[in-house]
């Protein structure tokens, strides 16, 4: 079995090398049959990697401790589900998942994205092969997940914090996102190498980029939810380097998704788009590097492993290669058109791009700041929450506002009079909302009021766009409001899916602002019978209850919650004491108020020997909108992704025509 797996990995490696060498020669010399064979090699490499992955999965399922990886990450009593998710619980398995996902994406992309043109695909194959070769090389020669040993009696087990249902979905989703960014990168490089710098590579990879970006977004939100309900400090995002590692490529990809529309519509920003896709891909590699090299202090500590320098080298090669290529192709990347006005859809997209990239780069600066400061001054210095929050406010709030302005501004050039008309309602809604908020006492946080006023403005402009589109379609006759609405969305999936994603971002902003700017925190030592008050809730501590549950002892503080004279129920924050792992874990208790979207978050911070508890209570208004935003986000992304036969026909006609003319 291990031999089969290792042979499969070596096969995959050789096939990928062939895809690089044979593929580039074929593309360079225009050998069509050789190019096809390189493409087949890429597809076959996926098959070989699947075999290796199955071997590892089978070993994990059978607790075959003669596999070193299995012995190090599982144990006999570990349930089957967690034994399988241990696939990505360690470094070698994570790398195998990278390669597996990459080969899957590669095979699917080159087989389906034929619209990019044969010459481009011929160069895409070796580019994808090159990235795959790097990972296959690591798996074969440096960090093999299929290394064997004399089987020990039992394995070391999986870290308890990874024995969690979120473990089954959060890492794979992030990987689908990270790795997916390779596809637009490879097509951009393919287009440059083939000197086909029109927008075809963008059109051909649009759905791939969108899917990768959506996976990355959902993956991060799930991670935030995991942190919120399980780690139990009352937050969901802590600007930790590892969290930032996923956020940065997502921001760059968000900028890319917007700026490509300008290239498609107006043929501008070609250089910028290529640079953005290079940035997004390099940030995703950098993220993987960060989590593997141990080079930066993080709460999630990762061992200093031997593959750090490999990654750094690969990132340097990719960056240098991509930038050289862009430089060589600059003459081909000149725009035919130019920006006509500072008040136009293009201009708002440009502002949005600059803000997103600025945000991504300032986060990057914060992440590498310890390294830079150590290099310059000799002492590593870290930046913390205030730094990140400052830039989130400085760049994030204008971005939020732009989300409302952009869709209302016409392409090319907008007249101020027309602008005044379209802005009237959203502006009025925002002003009213601001006044109401101030009257309701939300002025305690200036940032909060600004965020909410902007959010209302954006939501109003989205609603207006939907309403206007629907009524225009209804005016065509024959359909009611419902029919007009659904046909509007169905005929412009990308646009209206995008607006729905915007609505999700607004929900996210409202949730973040509510749960951070307006949260109330109270801490108090309570003896049985004592009470404390937080945001109108009276919490009465009734004493402890303690139970023995299999591998741990569960201690729970019994807390009765009252609002006025109403009894809202008994909540049980506490701690679990794991015997074998000699580890304590905090078990928070959360009261969701679905009507207001807020949470009452209870933490038994310290259990004292005299029978008292140090209770920490947080009232987090509107925090549930964050999770709601996740569902809306997925909905919007799915609408934008859904295949559209009409669009396909339109594109086919457009490129048939182009081919004939050329």
């Amino acid at each position: 079995m291990p031999d089969l797996g290792r042979a499969a990995l070596v096969t995959s490696f050789l096939l990928l090398v062939y895809a690089v060498v044979g593929g580039s020669y074929a593309a360079w010399r225009g050998r069509r049959r050789l190019a096809e064979s390189a493409q087949n090699a890429l597809v076959a490499a996926f098959g070989a990697t699947v075999v290796a992955a199955i071997v590892l999965l089978a070993a994990l399922a059978r607790h075959d401790f003669s596999f070193r990886y299995v012995a190090e990450h599982t144990s006999r009593e570990l349930p089957l589900g967690y034994s399988l998710t241990a696939f990505w619980g360690g470094q070698e398995g994570s790398l195998l998942l990278w390669l597996l996902v990459l080969c899957g994406y590669s095979a699917a992309a080159v087989l389906t994205a034929r619209r990019a043109g044969r010459e481009v695909i011929a160069w895409v194959v070796p580019t994808l092969g090159l990235v795959g070769t790097f990972f296959a090389l690591l798996l074969v020669f440096v960090a093999s997940p299929l290394a064997t040993q004399v089987a020990p009696a039992d394995g070391a087990g999986l870290n308890p914090s990874l024995q969690n249902p979120y473990m089954a979905v959060h890492p794979p989703l992030l990987y689908l996102g990270y790795v997916g960014l390779t596809v637009p990168f490879a097509f951009a490089m393919g287009a440059l190498l083939a000197r086909r710098t029109d927008e075809r590579w963008i059109v051909a990879t649009r759905r791939w980029t969108l899917a990768a970006w959506a996976f990355l977004g959902v993956g991060q939100l799930l991670g935030a939810h995991w942190a919120y309900v399980e780690i139990g400090w009352g937050g969901y995002y802590a600007w930790d380097p590892v969290e930032n590692a996923a956020l940065m490529p997502w921001l760059a990809a968000t900028a890319f998704l917007h700026s490509v529309m300008i290239q498609e519509k107006r043929g501008m920003l070609k250089v910028w788009n290529v640079l953005l896709v290079v940035l997004a891909f390099c940030l995703s590699l950098f993220g993987t590097f960060l989590t593997r090299s141990g080079i930066i202090q993080s709460i999630h500590s990762f061992t200093q492993s031997s593959i750090g320098p490999w990654f750094l080298g690969f990132i340097c090669v990719i960056t240098a290669g991509a930038l050289t290529l862009v430089f060589l192709r600059l003459p081909l990347l000149r725009s035919k058109t130019r920006l006509e006005s500072l008040v136009s859809r293009e201009a708002t997209f440009l502002y949005n791009n600059l803000l997103l990239v600025a945000l991504a780069l300032t986060i990057l600066w914060g992440v590498v700041y310890p390294l830079l400061s150590e290099a310059v001054t000799g002492t590593a210095a870290t930046v913390s929450k205030p730094y990140y929050n400052f830039f989130l406010h400085s760049f994030g709030l204008p971005l939020l506002l732009l989300m409302g302005i952009g869709p209302l501004v016409a392409w090319r050039r907008a007249s101020l009079r027309a602008l005044g008309r379209t802005f009237l309602w959203p502006l009025a809604a925002a002003v009213v909302a601001g006044a109401v908020l101030l009257a309701a006492g939300a002025g305690s946080s200036r940032i909060g009021v600004i965020a909410y006023t902007f959010s209302v403005f954006v939501l109003a402009s989205i609603v207006l766009e939907f309403a206007r589109g629907t009524s225009a379609r209804r005016a065509l006759g024959g359909v009611g409001w419902g029919g007009a609405f659904s046909s509007l969305v169905a005929r412009n999936r990308r646009r209206y899916g995008g607006y729905i994603v915007h609505a999700a971002v607004v929900l996210l902003a409202i949730g973040v602002a509510g749960s951070s700017a307006y949260q109330t925190v109270r801490e108090k030592r309570l003896h049985p019978g004592n009470s404390m008050t937080v945001a109108g809730n009276r919490l009465v501590f009734r004493g402890f209850e303690s139970r023995l549950e299999g591998n741990h002892r569960a201690i729970r503080a019994l807390v009765d919650v009252y609002r006025g004279s109403d009894y809202l129920g008994r909540y049980r924050p506490g701690k679990n004491q794991y015997f074998a792992e000699d580890q304590i874990s905090n078990e928070v208790s959360i009261r969701h108020d679905l009507l207001t979207g807020g949470d009452l978050f209870l933490i038994a911070d310290q259990v004292n020997a005299d029978g008292s508890v140090d209770l920490k209570a947080l009232q987090k208004p509107l925090v549930n909108l964050l999770w709601l935003a996740g569902f809306v986000f997925v909905g919007g992304a799915l609408i934008a992704l859904w295949p559209d036969a009409r669009e396909e026909r339109r594109l086919a006609e457009r490129y048939e025509g182009a081919a004939v003319r050329a």
Binding site: S161, Q297, S301, T303, L339, L350, L354, A381, S384, D605
Partner: protein, 128 residues
Amino acid sequence: MARRGSPARLIVALSVAAVLAVFLVYTSLAGGTPSIQPGQLAGHTGKVSLVGKVVGKPSGDAHAGGLHFRLSDRNGAASVPVVYKGSVPDLFKTGREVVVDGTLRGGVFVAVPNTLVTKCPSKYTPKK
């Protein structure tokens, strides 16, 4: 190339300038916090972020008089007494590596409340 005066360039130039200005204002106001180990504490009078390993048995009450413990360098050479108030992470115990903000006052490292974090046992090392 009569590209001078293109609004796109104006936008880019102005935005880059604005971003740089914002950035400079911020960094001149507040730099980062030095991240050091106990052995390097001498000479640092301001706020630092101390990284070290918990040695000896912690005593006291983090929610009353303060939790007292010692932090040593990773190699165990120098160590410093620490007094801390606030939430104590689950994973805090002797032998663990922790990070805590604070200042050195009269030979004792006085921690900023609620800044203690422990490093998770690595996802990528087997249990020893």
